[in-house]
């Protein structure tokens, strides 16, 4: 009972022969479950929110009022202050993460002692819960009883009210955000720097380049994909930031550290669901309006490896 194999016939399934270009719909079936989940949990609520933003919504009833919510959002001083704060916050955190991330990335890809340990130390804040970090730093930053001001007092500096001084509150939260997020930026930069082929370094060294020229002409341009990734991600994150600000200051003192997200949350807390949905739509449009041109600009400047 010798089992002979049939000669291999061209095993083209019948159904693809009818399709233009011969593309099989088979992969589409793999995509379908994810598409359903994405559609139901993201697309449908987003579209629904565009409608509810135009209503006065009490969660029990909704009444169509046109663009009144948007007008109100832009008129109220408390709400407009949130806008300014958001852009300031996003710019500061994004800029600091890029600069520090690049510096740390350079440091942690060079031959230094304890490199593995330092990488772990730099990255671990990213893994910790944001709310936990917020509450911890709120305690540390207490002007009279906190550890930070106590440490500063030991060396003779009278520490300011980090979270209670109206001019410092947003800055303090931004600093904590940078501390928390720089690990991720460093990681991305490390990946970018390490992927630069060794030939560039050798060629530059042969041409007599010092370390600053090496950095400016080889490392920085060739790690541009990493830079654009870090800028985009941290800018989006900064514009949408909520949990750290909420757990540290709740937008206080007064309205001085409010950002769009915390303003939206406060409207939601007060039961103005239509108004807070309008705020969400505004945030959505603002993030897209900033990030889309920015990514295109950054992509254009990318250097071909």
């Amino acid at each position: 009972m010798a089992t002979t194999l049939r000669p291999a016939a061209p095993a083209v399934p019948r159904r693809t022969r009818g399709r233009r270009g011969g593309r099989s719909p088979y992969p589409g079936w793999f995509y379908l479950p994810a598409a359903v989940v994405y559609g139901v949990l993201f697309l449908v609520p987003t579209v629904a929110s565009f409608y509810f933003a135009l209503t006065r919504w009490t969660i029990f009833t909704s009444e169509f009022i046109g663009v009144d919510n948007f007008v109100q959002f832009f008129q109220e001083p408390a709400l407009t202050k949130g806008f300014v704060n958001t852009f300031v916050y996003a710019a500061i955190t994004s800029g600091a993460k890029v600069v520090l991330g690049l510096a740390l990335g350079m440091l942690l890809t060079s031959q230094i002692l304890g490199r593995g340990y330092l990488r772990a130390v730099v990255f671990f804040p990213v893994l910790v819960s944001t709310v936990g970090v917020g509450i911890t730093f709120q305690v540390l930053m207490n002007p009279s009883k906190g550890a930070i001001n106590a440490a500063l007092g030991v060396i003779g500096i009278h520490g300011p009210g980090w979270l209670v001084d109206p001019s410092l509150a947003l800055l303090s939260v931004a600093l904590v955000d940078v501390w928390k997020g720089v690990g991720l930026a460093t990681l991305i930069y490390m990946a970018g720097i390490v992927s630069i082929p060794k030939e560039y370094y050798e060629a530059a060294r042969v041409d007599g380049a010092g370390s600053w020229t090496l950095f400016r002409n080889v490392i920085f341009p060739l790690s541009w994909p990493a830079t654009s990734t870090v800028v985009t991600l941290s800018l989006i994150g900064g514009l949408r930031s909520f949990d750290l600000i909420w757990s540290m200051t709740r937008g206080g003192p007064g309205f001085t550290s409010d950002v769009i997200a915390s303003v939206i949350y406060k409207q939601y807390q007060a039961g103005f669901y239509g108004l807070s949905t309008a705020g969400n739509v505004i945030l959505f449009v603002a993030v897209i309006a900033i990030v889309l041109p920015l990514t295109r600009f950054l992509a254009r400047k990318e250097v071909e490896l």
């Binding site: 001083p77 001085t256 103005f272």
Partner: protein, 444 residues
């Protein structure tokens, strides 16, 4: 076909044996929130949603223990929700989705109006359990023609807790006008004590100067609340109404606040008051429970007086009504009967006694037959005195559903010197517009 060597078989078998129990454990659904299984011995079990803080849970537990002794066929389980705006949202969402436990307690007055009582709650009009509830309270839990709740807890006042020992040492009397208040503060400051304690980490405490002043506004213009609801009176333009905001600014400008006002919380404020490093603390008298927990031995040193206006003759207390117990419309059958038994217990002297055993009363119970015992804290005695002499009137939130959500931030800004009183009052008037429109009030 020779049998495979036993080694792989036993390894696989061992793996199956070890993992099977885990699979079985995953099969049980566990408890899904508030269970509604019938209690043991054929009785009914109901769930009561109350505050998550220690004081709220302790009070509820005391009531439940006493209730279950008197009604052995009913078991009451306690569920918790946060206080403040988070709790408001939770209550509204659970009512909307029909997942509210069988009984819950919540504010009365304007917050009660906001949870759509006609749609979400079971009316209790005419039932025997409502008989003992005093007339003054009933409008606070009435919507349309129906009554929906019974009072849970004591009424309390919004005014100033003060350290009687400090006042005695400096020879000061309780101020009956604002001028006297500022003069007293000046003397206290000269003695090296912080005259006015503020605790802006708990932002809601910053509102007392404004909200506790309402008695004085109403004394000057009894129709003010009605005009306010109809958008005819405003804080910024009414010379009487803006005084609350102005007083807050004056206190800050004169440097009468404690140095750490921006970074401390309610408990720290109570500690400073009890220790005598701060002399006066504008707060709700209900927070005597916080005082009791942080400085129980100093209870006798702390008294209470109403925020003074300009006229000593109309000096009186701005009073807050207690929360109420409500029954959602989704509670039916046996559970409804059990819930009504619980409400009837709370609205009776036995219920008042149970609450008194858990926490010192902060004012009068608004239930017939519930008298205060003689050993209540001095704060409560002072509050009771205002009720007894009739020198009290309801806070604005019980006369008008209009209250903006941003008041506490605005008052923090005024008290911190970030914004002027006139500016803040105007801002608040803008803020309440949102609330009024949300409620669909006419004239806005």
């Amino acid at each position: 076909m020779a049998l495979r060597p036993t080694r792989t078989w036993t390894l696989k078998g061992l793996a199956v044996l070890v993992l099977a129990p885990f699979a079985l454990a995953a099969c049980s659904a566990g408890s899904l929130g508030s269970s509604d299984a019938s209690g043991s011995a054929g009785g009914t079990t109901i769930t009561w949603l109350t505050g998550t803080d220690e004081a709220a849970q302790a009070s509820a537990k005391a009531v439940v223990d006493a209730f279950q002794k008197a009604n052995p066929d009913v078991t009451v389980k306690l569920d918790a929700r946060p206080a403040g705006a988070d709790g408001d949202n939770l209550v509204k969402t659970r009512l909307q989705t029909g997942t509210m436990p069988d009984v819950f307690d919540y504010n009365s007055g304007s917050l009660f109006q906001q949870i759509a009582p006609a749609k979400n709650l079971t009316p209790l009009t005419g039932k025997p359990l409502e008989k003992a509830v005093q007339e003054s309270f009933t409008p606070q839990v009435t919507s349309g023609k129906d009554v929906y709740g019974v009072p849970y807890g004591t009424a309390f006042g919004g005014g100033v807790m003060y350290n009687r020992a400090v006042f005695a040492k400096l020879g000061l009397q309780v101020p009956k006008t604002w001028a006297e208040f500022m003069a007293a503060s000046e003397k206290i400051k000269a003695a090296g004590i912080a005259p006015v304690i503020q605790t802006y980490q708990d932002t809601w405490t910053s509102q007392l100067f404004v909200l506790g002043d309402f008695h004085n506004i109403a004394a000057a213009n009894p129709q003010w609340a009605e005009q306010y609801t109809g958008n005819k009176a405003k804080y910024a333009t009414d010379p009487n109404a803006i005084k609350g905001f102005q007083h807050l600014q004056d206190v800050h400008d004169a440097g009468y606040e404690n140095s750490d006002f921006a970074s401390i919380k309610l408990e720290d404020g109570m500690r400073e008051l009890a220790a005598g490093t701060g002399a006066m603390y504008p707060i709700l008298s209900a927070n005597v429970s916080t005082l009791q927990s942080v400085a129980p031995d100093k209870l006798g040193d702390i008294g209470f007086f109403a925020l003074p206006g300009d006229d000593a003759a109309t000096n009186g207390l701005t009073a807050w009504y207690p929360n109420a117990l409500y029954v959602p419309a989704t509670t039916k059958g046996d559970k409804l009967a059990a819930a009504e038994k619980l409400l009837a217990f709370v609205a009776s002297p036995a219920g008042c006694d149970a609450l008194t055993s858990a926490a010192a009363p902060t004012g009068p119970y608004l239930i017939d037959g519930c008298d205060l015992p003689a050993d209540v804290p001095q704060v409560t005695k002072d509050v009771q005195a205002y009720f007894d002499s009739g020198a009290q009137s309801p806070a604005l939130e019980f006369l008008s559903p209009v209250k903006g959500p941003n008041l506490e931030q605005i008052t923090v800004e005024i008290g911190s010197g970030i914004r002027s009183a006139a500016d803040g009052a105007g801002l608040y008037d803008e803020d309440v517009k949102k609330q009024a429109q949300q409620l669909g009030l006419s004239g806005w």
